[in-house]
Amino acid sequence: MKALICIGHVPDTTSKVKFTDGDTKFDTTDIQYIVGPYEELALTRLLDIKDAGTEMHITAINVGNAETEATLRKALAMGADEAIRINADPTDAAFVAKQIAEVYKNGEFDVVVTGKESIDYNGGQVEGMIGAFLDLPTVAGASLFELEGDKIKMEQEIDGGKQVLEASFPFVVSAGKGFAKEPRIPNMRGIMTARRKKLEVIEPVEQKNMTEVIKHYLPEAKPACKMVSPDNVEELVRLLHEEAKVI
């Protein structure tokens, strides 16, 4: 199996979110960057399949500036075989998807794997867009990914339940919860060998930005929590009914 896995470079899940330049930009001061949590699951699953004896070559790809290379190295340390960075400012999902689709066309990949959703702009859109650029089938938010002979068995969440699917290569899939159990943590050997693995930098192809983030907002500060005595739970019921009007 030859897999192209799309690695997002995102702020650590515990990051304090702040903005600068008149709230037009994400403030990166003191921010630690990580491989997106869903991409971690996706890569883990591919490595599990490889360890179970299937021939597998994994290329990790990111669309981003030079600072994202540390994140790509983490993917290499986890076990990806090589990496590609498309040298561009990734500010629009269609732009990102187009770059990945181009790399797919120039390689001989069986499958493109992304995370279900980035944890910065929460788009959940790159996978579907890659599929549309390449006219490949797409599976969104798969919770299972199993090799069965030359087919892949998957499960995908649909409205009101889930769908069990069987696919032949090639296709595009985004990994949701359940794709793998626990993300792998790179070991010392992985970290050492990652330094020697190939990381190729490619210039982007042209694609017009369809969207532009013009301003960010933080949620309104909530008023302090109103405390109710555990011996007076009737008061909570009254507040929920009369004040909050939610029951």
């Binding site: 899940t13 269609a94 929460n122 788009g123 549309a132 069990v164 969207t211 929920l240």
Partner: protein, 324 residues
């Protein structure tokens, strides 16, 4: 020009989220001076289709091809693309739910349209088309400008109020062409979630965490949900430990929910948990630890032992609902 609204049906029935989306689309159409037209795929009878008129849709297009019985992102996108072109839609709306998330990105590329995923409000401006969306897993919002002529938007659940506006709705049948290879990923079976209220549909969620200590202690949580007609959710460790099913896990890596009322019992309030629930209208925290971070996010709190507080609260709630 027209606003096209994809209203998914569940065995022929629409859910509240579809009515929210119709209300949202009708408002955009009103501002643009165009019409709001709904589209649905599958066998839906006339009375259900007419319901969409109660929220202001003027027309509903029903795509009844038998081949579309099973969901396929590729097939469904092709259908919506044909309908959109047919009516000259310039704004196409989806719910931010599994089918919307699967179709909207594909469609946006096909129509050369910009996509705003997870909108939380009506566009603040039509030219330039500017919509606020959820970002940083609920820790922020972002205003996004769409530069293309055609726009695709997915609307977050519970972020737009249903508006009733009776319209005499017309029903039109449409037969779509299904592209070759649309079912190359073959659907084998569909596993329906059983009768229980799904966490994303519930108006009230009773949620519990590791503080409850064992699976067998969920009886009082189920009782509270039953009294309130609520859904049940849980923190990640609870589903990882197998105390509850994965479909109940909410948070950054679970489901994102926005009920009117979220009651958190024995949940500490880790950022990754709050990321999935902090769009709830009102949050209640019940926890033994006065320093639990959840109290900072909650509207109402009780510092106390769940095994003491919850049974008492259940009695008080029973009394409240009995008295109406």
């Amino acid at each position: 020009m027209a606003v096209l609204i994809y209203t998914e049906n569940f065995d022929g029935k629409f859910k509240k989220s579809s009515y929210e989306l119709v209300s949202y689309g009708v408002e955009i159409a009103k501002q643009e001076g165009t019409e709001a037209i709904a589209v649905t795929i599958g066998n839906v009878d006339e009375s259900a289709l007419k319901e969409l008129g109660n929220y202001g849709a003027k027309k509903v297009i029903k795509v009844g091809n038998d081949e579309l019985k099973d969901f396929s992102a590729k097939a469904y996108t092709a259908v919506i693309e044909q309908v959109a072109k047919n009516i000259g839609a310039n704004v196409i709306l989806f719910g931010n739910n599994p089918s919307g998330r699967a179709i909207a990105p594909r469609l946006s590329v096909k129509l050369n349209a910009g996509l705003v995923a997870g909108a939380v409000a009506i566009p603040s401006s039509l030219a330039p088309f500017t919509v606020r969306k959820r970002a940083f897993s609920g820790k922020a919002f972002a205003d996004v400008v769409v530069n293309s002529d055609t726009k695709v938007v997915t609307l977050s659940q519970n972020s737009y109020k249903i508006v009733e506006a009776k319209e005499d709705i017309s029903i039109e049948d449409f037969t779509a062409e299904i592209p070759e290879g649309a079912y190359a990923v073959k659907p084998i079976e569909v596993v329906k979630s059983t009768g229980k209220l799904s966490v994303t549909d519930a108006d009230i969620l009773v949620s519990a965490g590791r503080g409850l200590k064992a699976a067998e202690n969920w009886g009082m949580i189920e009782e509270m949900a039953e009294i309130m007609g609520a859904g049940i959710s849980c923190s990640r460790p609870v589903s990882d430990l197998g105390w509850r099913g994965h479909d109940e896990h909410v948070g950054q890596t679970g489901k994102v929910v926005a009920p009117n009322l979220y009651i958190a019992v024995g949940i500490s309030g880790a950022v990754q948990h709050l990321a999935g629930v902090n769009s709830s209208k009102i949050m209640v925290c019940i926890n033994t630890d006065a320093d639990a971070p959840f109290f900072e996010a909650a509207d109402y709190g009780i510092i106390g032992d769940a095994f003491d507080v919850v049974p008492k609260l259940n009695e008080a709630l029973k009394k409240f609902y009995a008295e109406g």
